[in-house]
């Protein structure tokens, strides 16, 4: 664990000590080496238990894929930010990279924490660098509103979690994730227990986000710069899913009564946000709402608490992280050329940038859950376990899948096909850096097809 954590901590002083010419290459190489070393976590030496264990941190098959995704995303974020940070003064570029690295440290500590309270502290700590990135480096004046929504939705949801966790600590004496699955709490349906259950879950449901409390997500995703959008879509949403998975093992059997409103909100949210996607004119807003839609399905899978539900949720989280981040990078390539997020303005791009069109194609196909990509594997498992839970969910999830395919194709056709606008004359060709970025996003996604057991969590 320290083999990864100490190099990541060293990423904090790195930008301040390197000369200007080597700033971006060195931070990129350093974070890429950390990402490659993190792959050794995939070798889980004990089948369902914790490996690389020390008194504070450990990895198990649930947190390993998320940790590797986090470590993989940092070089991609640095690669994506290089262009739009180029005109800024040097110290601001260094601050930016330091912020990204500090976010990375908090995320690694969060996913590898064995005490739920440490996870909570890191969960809150990730809010601060993200808030700074959104409000300082966002591009429109709505970024202030976006930062406020982001911060206060998540904080308001997570303060009850603190109370609930302290209560759990007092009543059972420990909050270690190694012990909480074996807590025998046998919660009843009394009001206090219901409030306690809600307190544990609401923070993660707001973060996921659940449909009713999802308003922060489109704002934050749209107003954030590219690195902020990437880390938000790929990893920060998964913090909510991971937290839910960890804490739900202690909350039986009350979950069986309490989960109805949340499953209903999640599944209805899949359809509603999918329909909103079909009406969007803003490119990043469409991708943000599609994130809400996929996460609604993940929330449904986790709340069901069956093996396939959990497995499907984890696979979909990883696959969605990569695919959504890829789509945001593609939207950023458009934005850097036209400085506008309107989809109408950047149509017919297949004619002028055909190789980028192939990346758009693959990313859109990943978004609409094309087999054999892991997006489909996750969705199929969640949909099957929901069907086992109750037959009528198939109506909602089936319609949701249909609408997902609809808006993913709409996204592809709107940006790539169609008439090229005649007044846009100065679109620079795709940089190699952008192609590298897209390849690094989509190749791991395609490679997971070969061994989905890597990202399947406990029940591989």
């Amino acid at each position: 664990m320290l083999k990864i954590l100490i190099p990541t901590l060293m990423l904090l002083p790195l930008p301040w000590l390197t000369p200007k010419k080597w700033l971006w290459p060195t931070s990129l190489m350093h974070s890429m080496i950390i990402a490659l070393i993190s792959l050794y976590w995939l070798k889980n030496s004990s089948e369902e238990g914790w490996t690389t264990l020390n008194p504070m941190m450990g990895t198990d098959p649930l947190s390993t894929p998320l940790l590797i995704l986090t470590c993989w995303l940092l070089p991609l974020m640095i690669l994506a930010s290089q262009n739009h940070m180029a005109p800024e003064p040097l110290s601001r570029q260094r601050t930016y990279i330091s912020l990204l690295s500090s976010l990375q440290v908090f995320l690694i500590l969060a996913f590898s924490a064995t005490e739920i309270l440490m996870f909570y502290i890191m969960f809150e700590a990730t809010l601060i660098p993200t808030l700074i990135i959104i409000t300082r480096w966002g591009n429109q004046k709505e970024r202030l509103n976006a930062g406020t929504y982001f911060l206060f939705y998540t904080l308001a949801g997570s303060l009850p979690l603190l109370v609930a966790l302290l209560l759990l600590q007092n009543s059972t004496g420990t909050l270690s994730m190694l012990i909480t699955p074996y807590n025998d709490l046998t919660l009843t349906t009394s009001w206090s227990h219901k409030l306690w259950w809600a307190g544990c879950m609401i923070a993660f449901l707001v973060k996921m986000p659940l449909y009713g409390v999802h308003l922060w997500l489109p704002k934050a995703h749209v107003e954030a710069p590219i690195a902020g959008s990437m880390i938000l879509a790929a990893v920060l949403l998964k913090l909510g899913g991971y937290g839910m998975m960890r804490i739900m093992v202690t909350l039986d059997p009350l979950s069986k009564e309490m989960l109805f409103p949340f499953i209903i909100l999640a599944l209805w949210g899949v359809i509603m946000t999918g329909s909103i996607c079909l009406r969007q004119t803003d490119l990043k807003s469409l991708i943000a709402y599609s994130s809400v839609s996929h996460m609604g399905l993940v929330a449904g899978g986790i709340l069901i608490q069956t093996p396939w539900g959990f497995t499907g949720a984890l696979i979909l989280m990883i696959a969605h992280g990569l695919a959504s981040s890829a789509l945001f990078c593609l939207a950023n390539t458009n934005y850097e050329r036209t400085h506008s997020r309107t989809m109408l303005l950047a149509r017919g791009l297949q004619m002028i940038m055909p190789l980028m069109a192939s990346w758009w194609f693959t990313a859109s196909l990943a978004n609409l859950a094309l087999p054999p990509l892991p997006n489909l594997m996750g969705e199929i498992m969640i949909i099957s376990s929901l069907f086992n839970w109750s037959w009528f969910t198939i109506i909602l999830t089936g319609a949701g899948t249909l609408i997902t395919a609809g808006y993913s194709l709409y996204l592809f056709l709107m940006t790539q096909r169609g008439p090229l606008p005649q007044h846009i004359t100065a679109l620079s060709p795709s940089h190699t850096r952008e192609h590298l970025l897209m390849a690094l996003h989509l190749l791991p996604l395609i490679m997971i097809i070969a061994k989905p057991a890597l990202v399947s969590g406990w029940f591989a």
């Binding site: 209903i264 209805w268 036209t338 400085h339 109750s390 009528f392 969910t393 909602l396």
Partner: protein, 127 residues
Amino acid sequence: MADYREAPLATRPKTLDPNEYFNLSPEQRRAEEERAALRANLKRQYQQQLNNPHRKELIEDPALTRWVYARANPYTNFRPTKKTSLIGALFGVVPLFVLYYTFKTDRDRKEEQIKAGTLERKFSLSY
């Protein structure tokens, strides 16, 4: 006037000029000329920007900017009327209760069947 088309090289005779034909008043003709002048000015500005070889950015279209802003900020202009309240209730509130009722009765029915022993619970490796 219906089927008259312009000859390619000749000008239109005075009696077929729309202002004369429809017998418009001098004020209307002046207003039309002013509007035509404004349109020509806007078109000239657009053409200058379009054909400028050193232009690297988009031509800013204020109508597009207004439209994008309007699409992005629906909530500030929202006013609850009968129609919007009905749509909101129909799509946002009623389905939640309908779905709650559906799932609850389905799950309770399954629970009763399990308790009565009538549900055939076959062994399933994955669930």
